[in-house]
Every structure is written in structure tokens, then in C-alpha cells.
Symmetry: D2
């Protein structure tokens, strides 16, 4: 941390800071300039936060220099991590396609979607049984019945399930069915939920809050990690800006930026960020060559009947092209879309 | 709702829409122009949402015309509402000051803060026992012990308590102690929590999400109202923008805008929006003359020792000036800061 | 400036920085911590910018500590400035109302608007002869003919004129007519224009860019000041955010924030920020008690016929109420709306 | 356009609108619903804008349905355009690399940069002689001397020149040297400049304003087109958001979105959007597979000595990899990087 003093700060003001820091077991280095004094602090930033130096006399600004996340940080863990879901490895050597319906509606629609996903090369099935919706009058998902449908479809297709959990009280129940627990964009800072998925014993797919900085997103991941769960897949899904042509603005730069800051895998959701079917293919291609470790897309056998986010769902004819693009660009990036089990077998 | 067709939409495309709408019991009015056709829909917008017209052939855009909120809407309920907390009326005739420490730390600090608040004219005591913090390493609040401290302070000062609840599973417990349940900015779209406070039998203070549009905020209030609880106080607390000089940007226009759209009372949090002590007084003044029904501010006997948000807390000497400004400008607005009980007594 | 080294920076990396800084005549103070080294630099920040330290080996981040503006900075000039326009003083002791039509359309409309403005207490007349419009098909203003109309109206009413100049090449011509040269939001970083108004010998009203940080806005003022013109009135007019209920989001906090950073007067434009007539009165009240040194509002005798921004223009019946609110709240703030000439006379 | 009436609008209010529209030669279609009336207007939107229907009695909202741009619109011109610069074709069949130093500093640095660019496959040389800088104390460019250096380098390398013009008054002079006139992000709504480049007889590279919606960007292009110049290359260069890890947020979705709305070519600037050298390669790859018609990047022989934006400039060793990626992904997209002259020759 760096403490910048006001131009009119006194020598006593500076000394008071140094004493407070040293009393807390830290070290303070004073740089005296023509116009002002800067004090560099060395030690544990959380302790310094508690010192509340900002409130002391003569202080102009306190600037944090190190990041606040540790367990998920690449500084602490140079090698990029792999999250294993059954036979599927999500990490630096693979590009994983996750696909499925935005919401589970019926057994038939879910099974058809899963077959579509599988034909396109998806290794995991996404599908929402609990849907957080802006309006209380919108379809809220089938709940446990939706989880049972997903489990049936998994039994038949072999695809592990990624599904959202919307409250800490539901984590145990959802974890009985899910292979990966998804935390949605509106819940990125639902801290009880983060702590609950941190102890649920299942990998977590953590979507970026649509209003969250990258640092806050990694801090949210740190909450999960601090509870003992490092199997976290980060998912960039667009941020809120003034632009209205798209639902949100996909922050494609976040992929390489996060991969430099954190060892966790990062995937991209091209369906929710753009909110338009015609953008899914170009954004998927962009995601892969930006280095994403996977993509998660909405599919639906009949989007015109979808109860949720129909306008962005891919249909069967889109999927062939999508699967082909993923194959080609994954190879271009020196990665593979084939999972470990197949590779071993091959 | 209005359906705008593409320039190349066929007559059959238009007819298909009209049929679908009429089959659902609605009405569709076709306006044929030189370049394109517009179809006006009359009826229930939720039904139309389920029709998924966006996905039909020839459709360029579907635009919602009416708002999606009803119970909290002023169209449905012309007169502005009053939320009653004990003897305190929050509504169009009063300006209510809510003050207290950001976090409950000790019995002494809470009692001192409450006394400060009361001397400044506060009618309600705010104080956090559960603190949602960006970092898992930051102070998370005292939990139930904090609630007990608040209850003790209430017993001694007579000030009703506003305190935050951070998860649906805690609502019953927090409601045992709280007079008003606060839903924080990060939880504005935590739908299980909204539903839980909707049935808890206590008034709710609903902070605007720092990334939420006014429409989304009112939809969040609608969730609570739909569960049977219309005792909702809306709280503008700043939105996230590119400006970095302040913690967030207080959207002062939101006060009159929301009051035209909704009958619910709207208060302002000048402490969290600016994040700076020196802004609390000017922003409080601005809030009152913009028409706010109250303000909620952080106070602390010794901000330099605060475990949370010290830089924005007011100290004793600030509060006299704040209380005076609130008195003066409340009178200017033709309102009163005196609660009902006192008025009756007076 | 502060240079933060990477955790793996070598001793040689650190020494290279120190040498480069000292060779440039500056001073570098090294703080060695457990995890990383911080180097505090003392001296002229522009020189350091040219050193391009960010590009040197081992550097993680270079953070600027002092602000880049000087001439407009309050650190350099503690007392708040007054800008004098004829007999009108804009500064800390007064609240000045500037009013007039968004665009000059006809002599009659301009004169009627000026009379309306004057009756409401306006001391300066605003009116656009050159209109920067998003669409090339929208009304672009009357040009020089508009300036002549403004000059005629000034001759008759005695109101000095504030009018916009949209390009450096027009400054000399517009300055022949204008008493205050306005630089609009879209031109806040039109640097040739800033330099031209900096030497035009007339006060400048500099609107904040709708996308500009406060620091960038003050840097734009610094451009004007550096050309020798310190008669600058800053005008907050709303920033662009994700909220769509208002045209822009009035950043009311900017008023006190800028007044702490700069000695220049700051006024508020409640018409363009909200874009709605019904918001002008509450936002004007908010501006004055937030400490604004004035407000600038759109008026029009018949807004339904306005060629530009009709929906936000005040009409005659609004103005009485507005003038009254300005009087009352100006007095409350311990200021006056009366100009120097009248005060001397009174 | 669609006029939505208030719930309490009278029959007379509706008739007044219909009459006004018909008097102006337009057509109005009335849709009466249970709660409110919607009026669809058919005809020319500019005329309707002048009618100022928003201000009429009973009107709740006026919504624009068609876009305001025409000449640059794809609705009017289905086939995507090619902009020809010498032998270089920028359009749907090619991916064009434009590279060079952010600022022209010396003949040597410019020549070295040009050689670097050329070796990497650049077909056009970028370089700034006039630099719009946030601070008046920062390096502002060499002016005409810089243009002369660029012309000399062109004579030696054969690379056509893209260079920025910052004011309308400079357009004629810059056009004497430039092959493509660049309008920078801060000048996207500098309307006199847009009009001046619209008649300068040279292709224009129009950067998106960092705060501009896609619609505003296309309206800015429409200004140029309306002056008779349709040789416009659009350049996405990042928008301003709350994220601070990158200089701006590259809006990668803008590439396909704009290509659906407009026939003009769209290129991407991965250097200025991210502001970090390590992001240039992944963002370039993303741009190409999102469908961009080219990329424009900063290079510098010695970024640590650059007078402008050194941290984002590529060096020689980066460029080989960049050129290779562009070749590979251009081929993947079924396009070519070879210009027409070479193709003819080949």
C-alpha cells in the first residue's frame, strides 16, 4: 500500500502514520518530495485496511498496490489449473463446449437440446431449473422437477450437468443432481451462496457480475476458494455499458487479462452477452482465439417456443457450423476438444 | 407492446403474428407504412412475452410499451404511500433521517453512534450485523451478536432498527430483531431473498443495485410486493460509472423519476454513494430538495477505528450541521421531520 | 509518481529505474517490502511521463499521484475564483441563472425567451446559433444570422450572451458577438478549439464531456488556462451511464468534488442532463444546495414548436416557480443572486 | 415512429396528433387498447422530429423505429462496400493490417517503424503528426514536419499513409500528405471536422467515440457521407466502462453488429482499446474471426523511448507472430491479406 500525504501535511502527521504501521507489525518507508510525502507500506494489506489510515490527519489518498486475492492468484500458483468434471478436463490444453437450453421446460425439450448439444461436440450439458428473472411474473424454472429431468437426460446421454443454484439454502439439494454448480451474474456477490458452494464438494462455474470489475470477480472466486474449493471455472458473460444494440457488452479482453492474474480456467458465454443468435458464432470464434478455455451456449429445438431467452438460442442448423468452428480454431490454438477419456482410448 | 416488422416481411409473416396474438386472446392492430409494418398489441404483456414473437419470421423488433411493474406502480395507485415504522411515518409529508454505524462493532460504539444519531434528529438507527464485503478477508460483521447489541440499544434509546439481511435463510432470524429489513445493493436481484422479505411481516428498505436501471429496481420491489408486502422503502445509493473520484455516482434524478413511476417512498444514501465524508452534507441537502423522503447516513464515534467504511462516516461535529440542514430544508419543502407520535402529542 | 515493481524484479531492475530518474534530475526513494519493491518519485510528472518507466524491465505498474492540472488547481490557488461577465459576477458569493432557448430560431422567439429568462431572474442569456447535432439531417442552427439576433436581443434587454462555438475556425467570428464562449460536451476534448478560446479574450463556459472523468475535464480547462485565459466557468451537464430513464445522469457530486480540486466556478445544466422538463426544478434546487455557482436552463415560449430539445424547455409558468426556488435557496446558502452593479447601486 | 399515449389521454388528444401528422403529409394509424392508445406513423422521420410530438397533450412517449442513418445503411445498400486506398482494397474479401508508430517522432523512428510494419505484412502505414492529448503538457506531435516525414517514408517504402487530422481548419493541409484521413475518438462528434473530411477527396478512417453508441457512430459516418464521401472505414477502438484493468473495453460485438447495419468496412484497434502490449495479439486474433476487415496497431522500434503510448506498442519480435496470426486467420475466414495489385500480378 502507498499512503500519499496532502501537500500541507505536517512532519507529525507523517510520524503518526509510521508509528501506527509499525505498531501493527508492518514497515513504512517515507519518500519526501518537493510537493508532498509518499509512504510505502510493506506487509499484509488486510491489516492495513483495518488501520483505516485514510482517516488520519494529513492523508490525501491510500492506494492499494497488491491485489486482494491470493488463493486464486497466479502470483501464488504459476501454472494454470485444470478443473476436472468426470472425464472432461477444463483448462489450458482443451477448449470445452458447454451447451443446452437456457431453461429446462419439458423432458422432451431437454433431451432434444442435449442431443443437439452432443452432436455439436458439447462435453457438458447446461440447463436451468432455477431461473433468476428480472420480473416476478416471468417463468421461474421448474425447480427440483427440472433437476430430475436433467438427471434423466444425463443418464441417457452421459453428459455431465451444469446448472444454476440461486440461494445458499438450495445448494445441498442442487448438488445432489449437478456436476457443476453455476453461480449466476446477479449472484456474483451473494456471499452466503459463494460460501455454500465453496463447501458443496462440486466444481463451480462463476459468472462475472454484469457490473463487476475483474478484481471483484476474482475476489468472489477467492470467497469460494477460501472455503476449500479451488475447482472454479470463471465465465465472462458481458458487462453493462451504455451501448444498447447488444444486451450486454462482451468484455473479450477479460479472457487474457484474467488468465494473467489467475490460474483458474476462463470460459465465455456468447449467448447471454450479445443476447442475439446472430452474434453467437462470431463471438464464439473470438473467444477461442482470445484464449478462452471453453464456451457455454444456449440451444433450443424450437426457440420460438422457448420460455426464456429464445432470441439468443441456437437451432440445429447453427450448431453444425458452431461445432466446426470450435474444432478448427481449437486446433489452431494448439489445443484439443477431445476429453481425457477419449484421448486415453485413442 | 409494439412489433416492428423487417422491411422485407411478407403479408403472411404479418398475418401469422396477428393470428398468434388473437389465439392468445389479445388484439393486434396493423399499421402499414411505406417502408415497414408496425403491429400494436393490446392486452397483457406477460402473455405476449411468452408468445416469443421476437423469434417469428419477418420480425425486426418487439418493443415493450407499458412497464412490467404493477403493484408498486403509480399508475395503479396514484397517491404516494407512507411506510410506518413504529411511530415513524416515511412518506410524502416527512423527511426521515436514518443514521448509525455502518457495522455494529461493540456495544459501546453502537450506543455512542445511536446517541450521536439521535442528537442529530435521527428517527431510526441503522447498523449492520451481517456485512457483505467484497473481500473474504474483510470484517464480515458480528452476526446474531450484532443483532442483540442493536436490540439493547433500541431498548435504551427507543430508536427502531434498520439492519441488513444477506440471505433468504437468515430472514426469520434477523426479523426477530429488526424493525426494518435492509436488502443491500449487491442483493437487489437476489430473488429468493426478495421473496423471503416479502413474507417476513416487516417493512423492507430496498437499496438500488449499483448496476440496476430504475426499471429493474422497481421490478425487484414488485417481487417483494407480489409476496404481499407493500411496506417498501426504496433507497438510491449511487450507480457505477466510469468516474473514479467518487465511490459511485449518486443518481439524484432517480428521486423524482421514481416518485413519478411508483407510489413507494424513496430515500437517499449520501454516505455510500460518494464514499467521502466531505460529500455527505452537500449530497444530503441535494437529496432533500430533490424531493427525497429521507436520508440514511453512516456515523461513527471514532471513524479512524471503524472496521468498515470509516472514510465516509460522519463524526459528532458534522452531525449538528447535518441535522440543522435537514430541519431547514425539510421546512422549505413543506414537510416535517417530526414523527406522528410527537405531532399528536404536540 | 509511484513505480511498483513486479514480485520477480531484480535488484538491477530497481537500480536501472533509480538511475534513469536521477539522470533526468529527479529523485527516487526505494521501499523494499516482503513481496515487492515500491519506488516513490519526486519531481515533475511530465518529465517522468516522458521517461516511459512503464516499459522498463521489472515494472508492474506506474501510478500517478499528483494531478496533472496546475493552473486551474486549488492547490495552487486556494481562493475560489470569480469570473466577471459585464456586471455579473460568477463565483462563490453568487448563484447566477443563465437561461434562454436551446437554439436561436427567430428574432421573436429569441426575444420572447429572453424576456421570460429575465423575468425569472436570469442574468445571462443563453442561445445557440451553431448547434452540434447527432444527425446531419437535424436543424444545425442559424449560424451568423443567429448571432446577429442574439446581439439585437442583448441590445434591447441588456443581457450578456452565452453562445456555443463548435470549431476553432469560428472562434474569432463568434467572439465578436458573444460575451461568453460556450464549449459543448462533444467538444470538451477538441483541443484546437480549447486553444482558440484560450486566446479569444472572452470568458469560456466549458461543459463536461458526457464521457469525461472529472480529471479529464479539469485537464481540458488547463488547456484553456495554459493559453492565458483563466476566465473559465465549468458546467456539469450529466454523464453517460447505463440508465435510460434520463437522457444522461446528472453527477451532482461533481459540484463539491470539483470545487475542492479547482478554484474555478462550477455551474449545472439541469435541462440537458435530465432531458425532461419535469426534472428541471428538482435538479436546479439540488444543484444550488450542492454548492453550484449557477444554473443554465433551456426556456422556450412554445416548446411544442422548438426546433431543438423541446421536451426539456421550461415554459413561462415553470419559470416563476424556478426563479422563486433559486432566490430562496441562494439565500439559504448565504449567497446572492443580485449582480455587483445592482449591489453597488442598492 | 410510434407515439404511445398516456392512459388518460383523451380522444381529442389522439385526433390532434393524427391531424398534425397528416397536415405534414404523413400517415398515422391508431391502435386502441384496453389501457392506452398507440399511434404508428409512416413517412419521413426527420419531418416527424420537427413536429415535436413529444410536447403534445396526452403523449407519453415517442419512439423511433427506423434508424436515422441512410447513406451508410445496409438497408439501402445490401452489398458490403470496398474502400480503395491506392492498390489496397479494404472490404469483405480482405483483411488489411495497418501499422505504425502512435506518433511520428523522428525520420529514423518512423522509417524503422515502417520497415517493421511492412515486414509484418502491413499494407498501410499509420502515424500521428497531430496528437490530441488529454494534458496540454504532453507531446502534441510534430505537426507539418511530421507529415513531411511520413511522405518521405511513403516515398521510400511505398506504404500509403493513414494520419489523424484534429481540426477542420487543418484538413486541406493534412490531405496534401495523407492517403487516408483519420478522425480520432475524441472528434467523432466534431461535426465541422466531419463535414470537412467529407469534402476532402480522401478516404476517411472514423474511430468510434469512446462514449458513443453504435447508432451515434453511424450517424457520424452519415455526416461524412452526406458531404459526398462514402469512402469511410469505421474503426472500433474500445468504449469507456467501469472496468479499469484495461484502458477501454474493446466492444468486439460491434464488428458483426455494425456490419449488419452498415455496408462500410469495419476495422479494430487492439492497441488503444486494451492499452497493453500483451493484449494486442489475442485481441487481433479475436477481431479477425469476429469478421473485422482489418486491424490497426501501434509499433515502435524502442517503446521505452516512445513519446506517446509506449506501453501498448509492439516491438519487432511481437510482429512476426502477429503477422503470422493474421495470415492464418485471414485464410481461415476465406479472405486474403494480399492487395489487388499483387493479386493481379500473382
Amino acid at each position: 500500500m502507498v499512503v500519499v500525504m496532502k501537500p500541507d501535511a505536517t512532519r507529525a502527521d507523517v510520524e503518526a502514520i509510521v508509528e501506527k504501521v509499525e505498531a501493527a507489525g508492518g514497515q513504512a518507508f517515507v519518500s519526501r518530495g518537493v510537493h508532498r510525502v509518499i509512504i510505502g507500506l510493506v506487509g499484509d494489506i488486510e491489516e492495513y485496511a483495518a488501520l483505516n489510515l485514510q482517516a488520519m490527519a494529513g492523508v490525501s489518498r491510500v492506494t492499494q498496490i497488491s491485489s486482494g486475492f491470493k488463493l486464486v492468484s497466479r502470483e501464488q500458483h504459476q501454472e494454470r489449473s485444470v478443473v476436472q468434471v468426470g472425464s472432461v478436463s477444463i483448462g489450458p490444453d482443451t477448449v470445452t463446449l458447454i451447451a443446452g437450453p437456457c431453461a429446462v421446460e419439458t423432458p422432451e425439450q431437454t433431451m432434444e437440446s442435449a442431443r443437439m448439444a452432443q452432436r455439436a461436440g458439447a462435453k457438458l450439458l447446461r440447463g436451468g431449473a432455477f431461473k433468476p428473472r428480472t420480473s416476478p411474473y416471468a417463468f421461474q424454472g421448474l425447480g427440483r422437477r427440472g433437476l430430475e429431468i436433467l438427471a434423466d437426460v444425463r443418464a441417457e446421454t452421459g453428459l455431465p450437468i451444469v446448472t444454476e443454484v440461486v440461494g445458499a439454502q438450495d445448494v445441498t439439494m442442487v448438488a445432489e443432481y449437478a456436476d457443476v454448480l453455476q453461480v449466476g451474474t446477479r449472484n456474483m456477490q451473494n456471499f452466503p451462496l459463494l460460501q455454500a458452494v465453496g463447501t458443496a464438494g462440486k466444481p463451480v462455474l462463476l459468472k462475472r457480475g454484469m457490473n463487476a470489475t475483474i478484481e471483484e470477480w476474482l475476489m468472489a472466486a477467492e470467497y469460494i476458494a477460501k472455503c476449500g474449493n479451488l475447482d472454479i471455472i470463471l465465465c465472462e458473460r458481458g458487462i453493462r455499458t451504455f451501448e444498447t444494440a447488444t444486451r450486454n457488452t462482451l468484455d473479450i479482453s477479460a479472457v487474457p487479462v484474467v488468465q494473467r492474474l489467475s490460474h483458474l480456467p476462463v470460459i465465455v458465454d456468447p449467448s447471454h452477452s450479445g443476447g442475439r443468435r446472430d452474434l453467437v458464432l462470431p463471438l464464439t470464434r473470438a473467444a477461442i482465439v482470445a484464449g478462452a478455455d471453453g464456451v457455454i451456449v444456449d440451444v433450443h429445438p424450437r426457440p420460438e417456443e422457448a420460455l426464456c431467452d429464445g432470441p439468443q438460442a441456437l437451432v440445429a442448423e447453427d450448431l453444425h457450423q458452431l461445432g466446426r468452428a470450435i474444432e478448427d480454431l481449437t486446433a489452431y490454438m494448439g489445443r484439443t476438444t477431445v476429453d481425457r477419456w477419449h484421448r486415453r482410448a485413442g
